[in-house]
Amino acid sequence: MLKLILQRLGLAVFTLFTVCVLVFGVTEALPGDVCTAFLGRDAQGTRLENCRQQRNLDQPALQRFADWGTGVLQGDLGTSLKRDKSINDLVATRMRNTAVLGFGAAMIGIPLAIILGVMAALRRDKPADMMISGTSIFAMTIPEFVTATVLIFIFSIQLQWFPAVTTVRHNAPIADLIPNIILPMITLALVMMAHILRMIRSAMIDVMASDFVQMARLKGVPYWHIVFLHALPSAMLPAINIIALTIAWLLGGVVIIEQVFNYPGIGTLMIRAIYDRDLPLVQAIALILAAVYVLCNLLADLSSLALNPRLRTAR
């Protein structure tokens, strides 16, 4: 058991290290460097020299990687090129906003996905299932920015219930985000739901056909008792990993949804950093989001270890 936990932890650390190497390595391997990308056409003469000196670009790559890495380990993400400020300060409040958005969406999306997934599985190939599964395929395949635009059209322009764009500053208190956050949260929850629902549905169908459910039925256990106390917990096991994968996959989606609604989160900051060619900031945000992903996966792995005794004895 302990060995397994250590193994998962080791894998997470290894993944994070690979991400660091990639984030840094890509910048090194591709033509140009942080300074030429930032300065663009002005990248010549003394300006380029100064910038390179300031960024220690005259040092060997390994040395810089070690410096950057130790900085990251100590929680120092470096300084932004464009804004000349510490990245930590830039990122902190926006991280908070994105976390609120993601957490809210998960709170709406995951329970709904489980309920609808179970319903679809129990009514397999009947109209209810067709509707739920059909809608989820739409929500999954239509790009987030289209879904978001449609929701804006319906709820902000036709019905005028919620604002279409966020005008709140990134460091406003959370309460101020309330009317603005609703539409992005719904969009995110919708996409999240579609993925998880499909997984729960197919897992539930399998479990409901299994011997132990058959046995319980024959013994006369009440139907809803079987569904929620016997079948659902086993169907949830494979779903946990998918939920983690989905959350991670959504980190990409968050960037787009935030951009559509102009939500002051880490995604909009990243897009702006790319427009500005502010590579240190882009690298830092990529690293943060990858770390969130790795953390989600680790949590999923550990919780499925805790929930599934079979996994613990293997190997």
């Binding site: 635009t149 990409g252 882009v282 989001l289």
Partner: protein
Amino acid sequence: MTAITATHSVPVTKTESRWAQAWKNMRRSPSGMIGLSILCLHLVVAVLAPWIAPYDWTLQNGYIMFQGPDTEYWFGTDNMGRDLFSRTLMGGREAIMVTLLGTLLAIVWGGLAGMTLGFVGGKVDEWLMRIVDALLAIPWLLFLLLIIALTGQQSWTLILTLGFFYGVAVIRVVRGATLEYVPRDFVVAAKTRGESRFTIVTKELLPNVLDALLVEAAMRWAWMLLAFSSLSFLGFGVVPPTPDWGLMIADTRGMISIAPWAVLFPAMALSTLIISINLTADAFAKAIGLDRAKAPV
């Protein structure tokens, strides 16, 4: 007297090829056939667009900005007075070309790497799969954006990066499919005959994992289109004035209250393409007996 017929009619049982069988199964799936028809329509339009388009898709006309759909401009006009019908017809070309090439790259490199890893096995396989898992743990959009920030937005950069990252996911699937065949007799026999690794992978393993690979290709293509149009929407995909659905939506969505059609038509085009690929892939997977519902993303 009856003529002696030496040959009584031997029923020639012509065994249908697997593909014919798959096609027969697929024809029975209504959603698959709808998907396939829409997909074919999209491909034909993409190829013929420059000849079908009634107007020049880059021609701007300040007098007819945001004109509603009518008999002259079927889909209306956009924020620069360009004909939206022509632009919607043209808008998928770049996306389809880039993502098709990207998918091809992903399938070739992911497929070869996956089969080789599955075949070689052992420590090499174990360690390389760790790296594959680590690579899969990276949100794709972030890396694309990082690379675009460095190199600028060129089609070949997008093709290479999309192909590389999506290929990593292919490795996993193909390796899994390969592992099933490696211990089989025909592979062992080929090994004993002293065939080279390359021959075994391409002649013995490839035909067996081909269906999994094809389904995978279709799925990757749909995801890649989603990724590409998202990039275009953010302004990092297609360079204007080349029409592209994602970019068209980004350009006109601010005026959605006065000109909803300018968003509607490109959004419809993009969504129908992606959905049709998914429907086709689903039906094909079912037709050849692969269960795709259980495959993670």
